[in-house]
Symmetry: C2
Subunit: 488 residues, 2 copies
């Protein structure tokens, strides 16, 4: 089988596109910047959704659905919000087409112009807070802990499948609280939940931190983020949780009677992760042979391939093994296609990122064993047929752990401290990766560093130790190192 994808060393960006294409994850579409998520890619999204949804529900959240379209005037009600989103949104202006008078196709019917234009939601704070006004009267109506699974649209100029597309799928939580403290706790709870999901399901280690004022969500008082390192050393913002203060409550006049029977504005949070996570999965684990998936999010965990061909006895044995594995809650497929050679199949499942491959041949049967190949290390081993279900279950756990540890080591090896701009720039040029450096806390310095190095302030880590120091750029005093990196 011919080498199908570009090596990472050669061109990481092309390698990424090759993986997306060859593993059948996504395709370009006829609409600028919008992708088609293919079945193999969508199956990963379904695993992500199911797990996150369970976690949201376990923490008391419920799902609802709000309109796709937002009246244009809603956007303007929160001053920073409109700044953030008005310049890249799809605008609906008419509600009817008509036959082209020249007889060719259809054209917009000028008599069907909307009184007020509608925009396709880039995020739903405005339409949701306009609705919450009717739902919230008293403290007894709070908290409202609502999540929505939806498509959103941001008219991005440069797009890349999963990482940045005009339309993308996501979940957006929007909660309402009676106190500031409770809202902050909620935003932190979700921040922790995202980090838990990233590390324990995606096997993608993350740095938890707060965004600087400059990088905050448009309309937020505080934005918490999880930042992961991709294999090229660049950072990926993988999920954000926002404490919105009373900004949207004030913009949409959402008040409630508190326990003391006094009227007050409601406190808010919002938070989201998107199909971008699939891009993060790809760039955390995959290799030059294709996709590598953590077992907990792999739509198919084990493939069984009878060798050289699926004849009667081998097929029967494969079926037995399948049942034993399924009894352990493992998803399994037997490949009975007789037209393809085993070697071809091996490469195919490696490309698709199936975590474990089991080969069984006549001699294996005789020796009461099977050949097991793990996708992460590409190691092959003979495993006893006895207790195979448990062995494979343990192996999947081991792969899950190994992927996380490998990624953590990769990241830690590429995280450096810089004491001044010379060190800062040298790290970027020679090693790449994450840079921890003192910063004076001003947007001015943040932007100056970005201008000079293209590295951005990813976050102010929550768990970093306070220590006196001087800003790497301005030399002014600083109390804490923050995280810089080039980013997706």
């Amino acid at each position: 089988m011919a080498k199908e994808i570009t090596d990472r060393e050669e061109d990481y960006s092309q390698w990424y596109l090759d993986i997306v294409k060859k593993a059948g994850l996504a395709d370009n579409s006829a609409v600028r910047g919008c992708m088609v998520i293919k079945p193999q890619g969508y199956a990963i999204w379904e695993k992500i959704q199911r797990q996150l949804d369970d976690m949201f529900k376990a923490t008391g959240h419920v799902n609802a659905y709000f309109p796709l379209l937002i009246p244009k005037s809603f956007l303007s009600k929160e001053a920073e919000h409109v700044e953030g989103f008005a310049k890249e949104c799809a605008v609906v202006t008419h509600h009817r087409l008509m036959d082209n008078p020249d007889g060719s196709g259809v054209v917009v019917d000028p008599t069907a112009k909307l009184e007020e234009e509608l925009i396709i939601r880039p995020t739903s704070e405005t339409i949701i807070w306009n609705t919450y006004r009717d739902w919230i009267q008293s403290y007894r109506d709070l908290p409202l802990l609502i999540n929505q699974w939806a498509n959103v649209m941001r008219w991005e100029m440069r797009t890349r499948p999963f990482l940045r597309t005009a339309e993308f799928l996501w979940q957006e939580g929007h909660t309402a609280h009676s106190t500031k403290k409770e809202a902050i706790e909620e935003s932190r709870l979700i921040h922790d939940l995202y980090a838990d999901f990233a590390e324990n399901y995606m096997a993608m280690p993350v740095i938890k931190g707060a965004k600087s004022a400059n990088e905050r969500f448009a309309g937020a008082v505080e934005t918490y983020t999880i930042e992961a390192m991709m294999q090229d050393g660049k950072a990926l913002q993988a999920g954000t949780s926002h404490f919105l203060g009373q900004n949207f409550a004030k913009a949409f006049d959402v008040k409630f009677l508190n326990e003391g029977n006094k009227e007050a504005y409601v406190w808010a949070t919002s938070w989201g992760v998107s199909t971008r996570l699939i891009g993060g999965l790809i760039m955390t684990h995959s290799d030059d042979d294709g996709l590598v998936l953590p077992p907990k999010l792999a739509p198919l965990q084990v493939v069984i391939i009878p060798i050289p061909k699926p004849n009667g006895v081998l097929k029967e044995e494969a079926e037995k093994i399948k049942q034993e594995l399924e009894a352990q809650g493992i998803s399994v497929k037997i490949d009975i296609d007789k037209k393809k050679r085993p070697g071809y199949k091996f490469a195919e499942y490696e490309m698709q990122g199936v975590p474990v491959r089991i080969g069984i041949g006549a001699r294996d049967l005789e020796q009461n064993q099977v050949e097991v190949a793990r996708r992460d290390t590409k190691e092959k081993m003979n495993v006893s047929r006895d207790g195979l279900g448990q062995s494979i279950k343990d192996l999947l756990d081991d792969i899950q752990n190994n992927l996380l540890e490998r990624a953590r080591k990769f990241r830690d090896d590429r995280t450096h401290e810089a004491k001044n701009m010379e060190e800062f720039e040298e790290i970027l040029e020679t090693k790449g990766g994450f840079i921890m450096a003192h910063w004076d806390g001003t947007t001015e310095t943040e932007l100056a560093i970005k201008e000079r190095t293209k590295a951005t302030l990813r976050c102010i880590p929550l768990d970093s130790v306070l220590e006196e120091g001087v800003c790497v750029y301005s030399g002014k005093p600083s109390k804490q190192k923050v995280l810089f990196a080039k980013a997706y």
Copy 2:
């Protein structure tokens, strides 16, 4: 507790709106014709989704996701399709807003006009078949069995929550096949699957049939439908499955090399059900006290209410019962709110359609029993505490069956035969419901009957007996009775 909803006898239409509001299913939104699906309503949709998704996957289908926006020119490629959808679609013409020069809010930026307008999908045949052209080269690429869960938009003039809204949620299957026979079989398979779901999960009996040419999906060769009777005797089209022939393959030039190495156009189906099903659930089972849900689709199946208040012993016992029920796979909640009286709670859960309510008081504990109330018949009974898990499981099954049988009897009692237009009109005026009548097979007659009676031809039932007769309207010969009714 004051009577909260209109009686069905008094005003069925208002009763429906009252249920939607008081059971917390949906709300109007700030956008014309678009509803907000509230948590209680969305939880029902999630149950519907999960079950249907399992059934689609069990029959070999996979999910994918295609763009929300469709280039305007795609619509015109299939002549009937554009006729059906162009007159009620939301059109995106610009991709940016800008500050209003007069300083107030934002306006459309005239410099950000799209080269080609995009429409929000009313259904996805066109964008999907444009994509399939790249995915299908040979018979080995077929069949493609793909489903999509998505939002769609049709600019309807008169809307009602769930039944007809500008934006709605649905699933749309789009399959591609190498032979006509296989495509027809697929459309029939899904038709059967929809009927199975309607009857065995929604407890909503349906008539399976084919649509007349006049009522077919725009672009279909054959449309199969399931038609249910609502409590006011009107029909609800609850799901459709279309055999599309080669119409879309020809419009988008999707050809493949068949096993004989000859080029041929691909055969297609599409099929969908939507949030409309929730409207069907409401109008099949609910009563003047609120929502009634079949246990298989009830987000919460059993509520336990300690009486008069949740004290220590009663709370402990409630917790034990909860665990016993959960061990049977039943979803349970204990209501420990001390601020509300039991009578208030009873009415509240009746309104929400929880199938079974268990009350436990001190005397019940002494007598080793609990009080069980079923929502469907409002019957109350004392049930032994021993083996309660199994008893409640059996009761839920009984409720599920009872709802189906009750609805079936209701429908059969209101299905009449008409030999001529006098009988036809008399039935409509005095009894309502379904009318079985001979029809000459022409669109002319179908439209004349509609014009005269407002009843439409719902379907040509698949299981009706062939018999000679004369058309109820034209007196011309007919071989089969068909189903007429007023419809939603």
